[in-house]
Symmetry: C2
Subunit: 346 residues, 2 copies
Amino acid sequence: MKPVTLKQIAEILDISVTTVSKALKDYPDVSKKTKGLVRDLAQTLNYKPNEFAVNLRTKESKTIGLIIPEIVHHFFSSVIKGIINQAEKKGYLVIILQSNESYDLEKKQLKLLLNKRVDGILISIANGTADFNHLEEVLRDGKPLVMFDKIAKVVNCSKVIIDDRKAAYNATQHLIDTGCKRIAHFRGPLLPQNSIDRFLGYKKALLDNNIEYDSSLVYICECGDKSFEEGKLNAKKVLEDHSDVDGIFINTDMVAIGAITAFKDLGVKIPEDISIVGFSNWFMSSAITPTLTTINQPGYEMGKKAFKQLYKELKTLKKEKHIIPKIIELETNLVERNTTKPILKN
Amino acid sequence: MKPVTLKQIAEILDISVTTVSKALKDYPDVSKKTKGLVRDLAQTLNYKPNEFAVNLRTKESKTIGLIIPEIVHHFFSSVIKGIINQAEKKGYLVIILQSNESYDLEKKQLKLLLNKRVDGILISIANGTADFNHLEEVLRDGKPLVMFDKIAKVVNCSKVIIDDRKAAYNATQHLIDTGCKRIAHFRGPLLPQNSIDRFLGYKKALLDNNIEYDSSLVYICECGDKSFEEGKLNAKKVLEDHSDVDGIFINTDMVAIGAITAFKDLGVKIPEDISIVGFSNWFMSSAITPTLTTINQPGYEMGKKAFKQLYKELKTLKKEKHIIPKIIELETNLVERNTTKPILKN
């Protein structure tokens, strides 16, 4: 059955389309009797207001676009949940696209969303993204854009982030405080800011504690959907390359859990031989043996805050005011578990 | 900057809106010169075709709706990934809503999607859904509807499923084949079909092997975002209630991993004291200790097949033909790992 139109309702009742429209919107200049007739017929014929048309008039689609690098990832799915729950409260629908960590795909998807006339865009950029012109274009278009987690510093939009450098510093400091002297780092890819910042936090903690920085102790992970395997692989490599390593700060929990699995298979004792600190506090961190010491990264909260900021900017635009980009920084904390030793007493 | 319209382009060039529209669409009855002028100006002014308006005319939004019970769940996020990847290939965008396993929310969301005039709907129903009128309405509206994983048998639409009963039978049979005699079942909630079918498969395997069915050995899990905790809780309960249990077939891997964690804490040896078979083959199943024997449930494949079926139905509708609902059953298999003993030789 094709959807019934206002025109058809008007014809059946022999009144004007305007009257039908006004009746459905409860305008005071339509009689109660007419309103009753229109509503009853609309219900009988299963009339649905054409939301897309309404949107054209109000210039709003009440739809926002979300681009994330990877859906099957506990952190990002928590973020998605935060965004969707918050968006629904405000009457917005969310179109989700996955960039697969590819710059080309991300660029294409952004264009697609703009063509779809979404009201605003939330994005966590792909590891491969080094050029930001596609993001600048969103702003030139006058669309609100909020970045979260994996951001581009140079793009002048709002951002919801954590202090990756500080969190990584604390993670590395914890390894030092528990007696580790030769600390490796499994870092993320070279480009994304959070992976750079976590690396810099690691390096600074070493230097502040008079531990020499050795670049051969830094291993790169792509951190895509092969994270678990990469953790296993790097664990084997680090043992081959450096028999004296006694601590590792690992970019994400998933990679850390891969590393723990490999170390256990190889008979390495955790935390006695090698201590490990992860990053994200994925709930599996407390389920594995030994339980993983990690940095708690609030995914759901990040999604919620990102949508809230976008919503604020949409309201600002409606008032024809200028958007002032805001940096929202969420707190992280170290969760001590069993992959690290107790802190040494002085 | 507000988006430029066809009308504005027409005014600047002093030609009709129709000519501008035809020029952009490369109609043969517009001169090359005019086409060149229009295209150059459209590019300079950053013209974007109004997709929503186009959609109104073709009666297509090129957008589909997806309702799932829970996003932060490895199986469902794999399904989402399969759907999104496939949809993008065919030029469709996906609006994702999460029902939080609530019937009321699911009903509301379905209405929202219909009002948004999505072209079709993919759904995995909430545990709380027992009345299916909201789903029947989608079909009455003439919209293609494809259900996956958690389906309602009585709704006459296409479905992508696995044979849950057979898979559960095989899981239980494996416990029997490896010597278990007193087998408990941690089942899902009472309503959803897959949870019923898994329970029935468990029961049938017992009866076929002349093992008495004992309802006190069946424990219910809500299987929401507290799955891991539920697994731990039920593991403790089963030990208190039945000291003689030597095997458990568990509805999902997440619950199984919770149970394994609790059993390890309590000093129960797996698989010697209690053997466990899970369901889904979440990748963490091979990361925990001991690695989990489980049923492999193809999430990504399910998402892909569900979109493909919806796409076929959209094409059928375009040809003004009648949709014939199809049941697509995907294969599952048992993955033997270390939470079960080797199969007994006769």
